[in-house]
């Protein structure tokens, strides 16, 4: 799924020190992506928690619906 770009690159990865540096580099990118995702999920949660997003549970709107019936 993640093929090596070249044979030279593949051979370089056989070097433990080079591989370790590369792993750290990739891990840093992935860590930042995960942090960004966590922030987006929290924003989504915040949006759901907003009163306007949950008007169905609002007592005032419930009374209004009762009157409509």
């Amino acid at each position: 799924m993640f093929p090596a770009s070249s044979r030279h690159h593949s051979e370089s990865l056989s070097n433990p020190l080079y591989r370790m540096r590369r792993e750290r580099h990739v891990a840093l990118i992935l860590f930042n992506v995960l942090l960004l995702l966590a922030a987006c999920i929290q924003l989504f949660s915040l949006a759901l928690s907003h009163p306007l997003a949950s008007h169905g549970d609002d007592p005032a709107s419930a009374v209004y619906l009762e009157w409509e019936e």
Partner: protein
């Protein structure tokens, strides 16, 4: 793994361990520590998805036992080589997590549990014990087998064939096996995220399971979709992500765990480009990142199973990892798992999630009465014949000094029982409840205590005790022209004791009047008008609410009648009805243009006394809040000639 590092344990020929641990392929003649570790991983992988069904005793589960060889191997290697086989870049986040937990706990933080150290250290041991790609793939496959079984049991529990081990009050989701719906949901997703990696290894010939593998790998998502399809559709609100992730101290632990996941995924991505790469690195990286992202959204408790999956995948990314498993799992591993599964399904032992007795006792000590009633109400929907649940509902109401509700629940608890989970309450429990009810009743003013204690005594079969207490409520005096029959019938209904009506009919009418008046704070006796039909007097009207049901009963010398009104609490919201519809409760007698006598109960009921007494209910009821209280309100109408004390 170098041959020099591998320790070899020689066992005698007759050893039972030797007989049971020999695999089908690559069967070693000697039982090595690596073989033991592999079996530990297999047993762990096979047992963890079944959760509560794999409990041995107390908090100890089968997967805890399976950890023993892994821990032993790690400690032995540490003592011999002064190092672990776990890569440094992967074990330091685990150790840092454990250290942070210790620091937070010593600092007095209550939101972090000591128990979180266990999965962190477990990850180190599992990563040490799995450096073989074959073992990793087999363990993932075994977890999928158990996961599919857990999901099928959850489907059974959804349709009522099996009592669930966990449920969510808000969404109505149930699962059989896991200790939490969120945790079970997360575990199922984690296993499905690993499906592509396993399938890739199978197609490439790196993983050679039996012919059932294709079926298992298909069954897992199918069962998950079936479980979702059968479950009630939860609203988005109940699935909103928690915000604990960004709060101290969880944020630090979450950050370290995220770094560990990112580091693990990066190992797979980079290893995928090396000459010694396996075929499933890419999909395993996707699975690790997918698990991390799902955990960010669901925020499950970090249980052992998903931690095992993550830690095992590290073994696949080792540079020197071999593809052929050190030993293939034996079918004998299924025996303890199947045995525990059957035992735990059939028998409810102390500590079982279905053992609501222990749960209720804990909740009563913690004074979580509302939560306890909610959980027991769910249990009653699945096990309506379990009167022990009613008993604990009564205990919760009694602890809140709500005597009418406590008495009503206790009467249900003393009713006919058809237990599905636990037996009905025993004599000791009944005695304890009656003693508590007596104390609570005595501590209240006479007009407020009602007949709750007497109702409970009669429900428990102690009629003589109840009758002697009732006789103390009034003086025996004669009211000329007052018939005792309707009063006796009303009292029999109030006490839930129709078999005692004949006894009450032999009592004096004055005593019955006093008992009925003292049965509730709103009860009263009124004089009828001179033109009220004398054949209907004394007339007892009684209204009482229980849940969403309103019972109205009328007793007169002309006969007894009544009705039951079912209120739709889902449709009628309890807001502001009191202010919209005015006062509730029994009103005064009034006469209409046709000369009939009317008495209304709130907005819902009208009693009409004309040629014959009748009860009418309104077609549209404002709300259950139209009821004044969850008790009984009695009005006794006596002839004008009777003198009574107001």
């Amino acid at each position: 793994m170098s041959g020099k590092r591998r320790e070899v344990l020689t066992l005698p020929e007759s050893s039972s361990v030797r007989r049971t641990s020999i695999g089908r392929a690559n069967s070693p003649s000697l039982l090595s520590w690596d073989t033991l570790a592999a079996y530990g991983v297999y047993l762990f992988a096979l047992s963890w998805p079944l959760g509560a069904w794999q409990r041995l005793a107390g908090p100890v589960h089968l997967h805890h036992v399976a950890l023993a060889p892994l821990i032993f191997c790690a400690l032995r290697d540490w003592m011999n080589n002064k190092r672990l086989r776990t890569p440094f870049e992967l074990w330091w986040p685990c150790v840092l997590t454990a250290v942070l937990i210790v620091v937070f706990k010593l600092g007095g933080t209550e939101t972090v549990s000591w128990m979180l150290i266990a999965p962190a250290l477990m990850a180190v041991f599992v990563m040490h014990g799995t450096d073989n790609r074959g073992v990793v793939l087999w363990a993932i496959y075994l977890s999928m087998m158990s996961g599919a079984l857990m999901l099928s049991l959850s489907v059974f529990s959804r349709i009522g064939l099996l009592f669930p081990t966990t449920w969510q009050q808000t969404s109505g989701l149930v699962m059989a096996g896991p200790y939490g719906v969120t945790e079970g949901f997360f575990a199922s997703l984690a296993l499905m995220l690993l499906l592509p990696a396993l399938n890739r290894a199978r197609r490439a010939g790196e993983f050679l399971p039996g012919c059932s593998a294709r079926f298992i790998m298909l069954a897992l998502p199918v069962l998950f979709i079936l479980w979702l399809f059968l479950s009630p559709r939860p609203d988005l609100w109940s699935w909103r992500p928690g915000h604990q992730l960004f709060l101290h101290p969880t944020v630090w632990l979450a950050a370290v765990a995220l770094w560990g996941c990112a580091r693990l995924a990066s190992k797979h991505i980079v290893m995928g480009g090396t000459p010694s790469a396996g075929v499933a690195h890419g999909w395993l990286a996707v699975a690790v990142l997918g698990m991390a992202a799902t955990a960010l959204a669901l925020f499950p408790y970090p249980e052992a199973g998903p931690v095992l999956l993550l830690a095992m995948t590290a073994g696949y990314a080792r540079p020197g990892a071999t593809t052929s498993p050190v030993v293939r799992p034996s079918r004998w591993l299924l025996a303890p798992v199947a045995l525990l599964l059957v035992l735990n399904i059939l028998f409810i032992r102390s500590g079982d999630p279905r053992d609501y007795d222990s749960m209720a006792r804990r909740a009563l000590v913690r004074k979580e009465y509302g939560l306890l009633r909610e959980r027991l109400a769910f249990i009653k929907t699945r096990a309506p014949g379990d009167t022990r649940a009613d008993y604990y509902i009564a205990r919760a109401w009694l602890a809140e000094k709500n005597l009418p509700e406590a008495a009503a629940a206790f009467r249900r608890a003393m009713g006919p029982s058809r237990p599905r989970l636990l037996p009905p309450p025993d004599t000791t429990a009944v005695d304890a409840f009656l003693a508590e009810m007596r104390d609570a009743s005595s501590a209240m003013p006479e007009r407020m205590r009602g007949l709750a204690y007497e109702q409970c005594l009669i429900a428990a079969g102690r009629d003589r005790h109840a009758l002697s207490l009732l006789e103390l409520r009034g003086e025996t005096s004669t009211f000329p022209g007052l018939v005792a029959g309707p009063l006796a019938q009303a009292l029999g209904t109030l006490l839930g004791a129709p078999h005692l009506v004949t006894v009450f009919q032999s009592w004096d009418a004055g005593l019955l009047l006093a008992v009925l008046e003292s049965a509730g704070p709103m009860n009263r006796t009124v004089s009828a008008s001179a033109v009220f039909p004398p054949s209907q007097l004394p007339l007892v009207v009684m209204a009482g609410g229980e849940g969403d049901v309103l019972h109205v009963n009328v007793y007169s010398p002309a006969g007894s009648f009544g009705g039951t009104l079912l209120l739709n609490s889902q449709r009628h919201r309890p807001h502001d009805v009191g202010t919209l519809f005015g006062d509730t409760g029994w009103g005064p007698w009034r006469q209409n243009a046709a000369g009939e006598w009317l008495m209304s109960y709130g907005q819902s009921t009208i009693i009409r006394v004309g040629n014959g007494p009748q009860v009418f209910f309104r077609a549209t009821i404002p709300s259950p809040d139209a009821l004044p209280f969850h008790g009984v309100e009695v009005v006794i109408t006596v002839p004008e000639t009777v003198e009574f004390h107001e």
